[in-house]
Every structure is written in structure tokens, then in C-alpha cells.
């Protein structure tokens, strides 16, 4: 017996428009799907962590329990920006590791279809005399007057900053990253958009914040994902089939952004990701070269580039060359975002940090169908939420059990 943790069951809903389902419907579909996938019920679950960022419903965990099982277990409602789902997963991992439960259920759900531009609030001006508000003592809205608060604009600058530091990152390169993810999405039936797009289509689409055009931005969609985590000791008591399909959580890491010069001017999404990656590789005993696939947080095409470097998939400063070598394509040496990524699969915020784990786990089980990465043994799932929080999970196929080829 070890203190290893395993994903026993996992499920994601189709991402896209779900006009006839509310948050709880989607969360219930994901949770019940994960329980059924793991061959357990709510009666087995000892701890629940649930996340929803923008729905404004309060305790999504308890609302979910009301529909699928009020068993009286502790519920942790978590919010951590775009890392909310990963935080829910990390929470149940900690509870199980602490010996407080044998099984934990983590759920993330969001309804964002038609949400428009995130991060931007309408400019409101007061009439009458100027009045200073907020920590900058501003007499009016800062967004648009002193830089931008839109997510597309912030992450555009994150990518441009990398280009300034290392060179070679231009509009066309970022668009080619998006071209890759849209091409990958054609094989994923759960993606919100499964349309291949040419480089020209991507570059000539509506510009949101240079160099990010619309298809280079994450898609606002509805969706949910859930995972059942089990302790090593409990897994050993389960059926051969359950053990065969269980996926080892070789590392579960959450970091926040340590202080860096300029981090309060433009969010530093790099340092906390590097820190999380370093901790995760160490905990898992693997290196970037061991990864058979990576799902990373491509909230914008400009973000994907910097995370090649932050996750150490390339040498420092080498992200442009890494991409140009073809490495992150699904037939490359380190396939990245074979799900289609957030740009085409969609980004229902709180669901994302579990949905990316679902994608990796599905490949490790050999159940990814036409988009299966052959013989995948180790994968990494990464999310980052501005503010900031970064979640990294390293997953491994069950040892000694050969997964069927898809």
C-alpha cells in the first residue's frame, strides 16, 4: 500500500450550448457520469469539492447534492479563477491523502454561452464632482485609459512580452498555434467547435486584441466535468476492471504567483507555472521528455506559446523553435492540446481544470477513439487562472496493465 491517489471515474459533458440545462443539470450529468464510470455511488463518496466561478449560485456543491445525493459529507465550494476545477480536484486529493476519506468527488461547472468579452466591465462615469475610488485613487474607469483589463488584451501582452524577450513570435506564429488546435478539434466530438480553420481564415477573422483574432481566443461555452478520486488502499479492494482503468495521479500541484517585478502591472503567468511544473515533475519522478501528451491552458493562442516554455517542454527561450519543429502537433514529439484546446473545445471556466484531466486520462486508458495518442503512458494537465492560481496534474497509466489501442 502506498499513499498514491487514483482517478477511478471521470466524465465531461459535451462543451457548447446547453440552453435547456441549468448549472445543476450539467454538474449532475458530469458527477453521475464520473460515479458510473468508476463503478461507485454517492453513498461511497466521503468528500465533495465543487466549483463554479461566474454563475452566482452560491454553494454549487450543496445544490448538486440536493439532486444526486444528500449524504451529509463535507462539501468544499471552491473558486480559483480559471484554475477552479483543478482546485476542486486538488482539494479532494488533499482530503484523501490526509486520511479523511477513501473516495472524493470533484466537480466543475460553468454556463458561459454568449458571455462575450470577459474581464471588461462597462465604463461607468459619475456625474458631479470627481471622486477618487479604489487602490489607485482613480477618478474614472481605468480600463481603456491605462492599459486594458480584457482577458484577450492581457494575454496578448503576455505573448508579445515573450516575443520581446526571445524574438520570433509574430502574428503568423500565434495564428499557426491556433490552426493546430482547430485542426486537432476535428477529432473531438465533445468540442464545442470541430471546424478545421486555415491560417488565412484565422488571421483574417475579427481582431479582438492584436495579435489575437476571434478564433485565437478561448470559446465561451457551457459544460461540466467531474472526477472520482480513490485512495490506493481502497483501489486494491476493487475489481480488476476498476483497477485496470484507474489512472494514477502522479502529481497534484497548486501554486499562486510569487512576487516579481512588474507582476502587478501585467500578471506574471510564467513564474507560478514554472514552479508548479517543477514541483509536479519532482513529485511524479518524470521529466517533460517523458510526457506522451499535454493539455495546457491555451486560453489564447498567445498563452500557449509561453506555456511550452513554462512547462519546460522546450529549453528556456525556445518555444518558437519548439512550435516550428512540429513537436506540439498530434503526430509530433510532445502532442499539445489534442482535444482542440480551449480555443475550439471551449472554456467553461470551472469545468476546464477537470476536463483537461479527463482528456489526458482518456488517452492513458486507451479510450480516446480516433484521436488516441498511441501507447500513451504519461500525460500532464495544466490550467492557470489570473489572479493568479496554477494547477498541474501529472497522470500515469496503471502500471503492469496494457491499455488497449484506440
Amino acid at each position: 500500500m502506498t499513499d498514491d491517489l487514483w482517478i477511478l471515474g471521470i466524465h465531461m459533458t459535451k462543451f457548447g450550448k446547453h440552453p435547456d440545462e441549468d448549472l445543476v443539470d450539467l454538474a449532475a450529468e458530469a458527477a453521475l457520469g464520473a460515479l458510473a464510470d468508476g463503478g461507485v455511488t454517492m453513498r461511497d463518496v466521503g468528500v465533495l469539492a465543487a466549483g463554479n466561478l461566474l454563475g452566482g449560485v452560491g454553494g454549487i456543491g450543496q445544490l448538486l447534492q440536493k439532486q444526486i445525493g444528500q449524504t451529509g459529507i463535507p462539501v468544499y465550494n471552491v473558486q480559483n479563477a480559471c484554475a477552479t476545477g483543478a482546485t476542486a480536484l486538488r482539494t479532494v486529493c488533499m482530503a484523501i491523502k490526509a486520511g479523511e476519506a477513501d473516495y472524493g468527488l470533484a466537480v466543475g461547472v460553468e454556463k458561459l454561452s454568449g458571455a462575450g468579452l470577459l474581464g471588461a466591465r462597462p465604463r461607468t462615469e459619475t456625474s458631479g464632482a470627481w471622486e477618487r475610488t479604489g487602490r489607485f485613487g482613480a477618478v474614472g474607469t481605468v480600463d481603456g485609459r491605462i492599459g486594458t483589463e480584457t482577458m484577450a488584451g492581457v494575454f496578448a501582452q503576455v505573448g508579445m512580452e515573450y516575443g520581446h524577450k526571445y524574438g520570433g513570435a509574430d502574428f503568423e506564429l500565434f495564428a499557426r498555434i491556433s490552426e493546430k488546435n482547430h485542426a486537432h478539434s476535428t477529432l473531438n466530438p465533445l468540442a464545442a467547435y470541430q471546424k478545421k480553420m486555415s491560417l488565412e481564415q484565422i488571421m483574417n477573422d475579427v481582431m479582438i486584441a492584436y495579435p489575437n483574432t476571434r478564433p485565437m481566443c478561448s470559446a465561451n461555452t457551457d459544460g461540466a466535468a467531474a472526477a472520482v478520486v480513490v485512495s490506493d488502499a481502497k483501489l486494491r479492494t476493487l475489481s480488476l476492471e476498476q483497477r485496470r482503468r484507474a489512472v494514477k495521479i502522479a502529481a497534484s500541484v497548486l501554486t499562486s504567483d510569487p512576487w516579481q517585478e512588474a507582476c502587478q502591472v501585467l500578471p506574471d503567468v510564467n513564474t507560478l507555472t514554472r514552479n508548479a511544473a517543477r514541483q509536479a515533475y519532482e513529485a511524479a519522478g518524470v521529466g517533460p521528455e517523458d510526457l506522451d501528451l499535454v493539455e495546457l491552458h491555451d486560453c489564447f493562442a498567445t498563452a500557449e506559446l509561453v506555456h511550452y516554455d513554462n512547462l519546460m517542454l522546450c529549453e528556456e527561450g525556445g518555444a518558437v523553435d519548439f512550435f516550428r519543429s512540429g513537436a506540439p502537433w498530434r503526430d509530433g514529439s510532445t502532442p499539445v492540446n489534442v482535444s482542440g484546446g480551449l480555443q475550439s473545445k471551449g472554456h467553461p471556466i470551472a469545468a476546464t481544470g477537470i476536463a483537461n484531466v479527463w482528456e489526458v486520462a482518456t488517452h492513458l486508458r486507451g479510450e480516446a477513439g480516433p484521436r488516441q495518442i498511441e501507447g500513451a503512458r504519461v500525460g500532464l494537465a495544466h490550467v492557470i487562472g489570473l489572479g493568479s492560481a496554477c494547477g498541474v496534474h501529472v497522470l500515469e497509466r496503471a502500471a503492469g496493465v496494457s491499455a488497449p489501442r484506440g
Binding site: 465604463r123 470627481w130 491605462i146 492599459g147 501582452q157 516575443g163 520581446h164 479582438i208
Partner: protein, 136 residues
């Protein structure tokens, strides 16, 4: 007669010449533009006013063409490295085009009237503009 003027944000000082003033931690010299409870870097509680260089280099930028209602577009948002202190700003007096704005360009602080309130007071905001070759 010109209107009385106030700075748009606390960290802009209009006189004698417009410049930004950071809160600098007296222990570790980390700089901040917002009201502080303590230093995020070292935990220090004491700060001194530190004037920030009024010229710098564009370290990153974006051209925002899609923004919140009421925000005029397009505009150039940027991070300017002012002699080691990073500043968030808009770039003005430059065509908002990737053919014109470029990483590493040298820029200088400038001010403009962002609005006038009901009592006739102008709020003066800062931005950065390209520094002509002759001025460099």
C-alpha cells in the same frame, strides 16, 4: 482661463513636470502604484515616494479592437519599462497599427485631459507617446 486640474490617478503628479510616483518599499525597493498595506515581496511596512523615469521602452503591447461598452477602440495598451520600473499605460500619438507600434520602441510620458466634471475641474491622465529620433 484654464480649468483647475487634478491627476486622474493618485500616482500621477502634475507638477513641476508630469511624472509618476511609486510607493517604494524601504527594505527591498519593490515598487507599487496602488495603496499598500505592506510589501508583497518582503513583508516590509514602510514605503517612500519614488519618482519614476518619464521615458522608457515598450516591453509588450496589444492593440485592443474589442472592449467593454463605452471604451473607445482601437487603442494601444502597453507595458513600458521605465528604467527598471514597469508601467501599465496606453500609447498615444501613434497609429494603432502593428506596422507602426513595435516592441522595444522608445516612448515618453505625456498627459491629456481625460474629462471635466460638473464643477469645471479637469482630470488629467497620463499615457506614453513615441519619442522622436531627434529627442532620443
Amino acid at each position: 482661463m484654464t480649468n483647475p486640474q487634478i491627476p486622474f490617478v493618485d500616482y500621477l503628479e502634475l507638477r513641476p513636470e508630469p511624472h509618476l510616483v511609486a510607493h517604494e518599499c524601504t527594505s527591498c525597493a519593490a515598487r507599487y502604484f496602488d495603496r499598500r498595506n505592506g510589501c508583497a515581496h518582503c513583508g516590509g511596512r514602510d514605503f517612500r515616494a519614488a519618482p519614476v523615469a518619464t521615458t522608457g521602452e515598450v516591453r509588450s503591447f496589444t492593440i485592443v479592437t474589442f472592449a467593454a461598452p463605452g471604451v473607445p477602440v482601437p487603442f494601444v495598451a502597453a507595458v513600458v519599462d521605465c528604467d527598471g520600473t514597469s508601467v501599465r499605460t496606453n500609447l498615444v500619438d501613434v497609429e494603432p497599427s502593428p506596422d507602426v507600434v513595435h516592441l522595444g520602441m522608445t516612448v515618453a510620458l505625456t498627459t491629456y485631459v481625460a474629462g471635466t466634471d460638473a464643477e469645471g475641474v479637469d482630470a488629467v491622465n497620463y499615457a506614453f507617446k513615441p519619442l522622436g529620433r531627434a529627442e532620443q
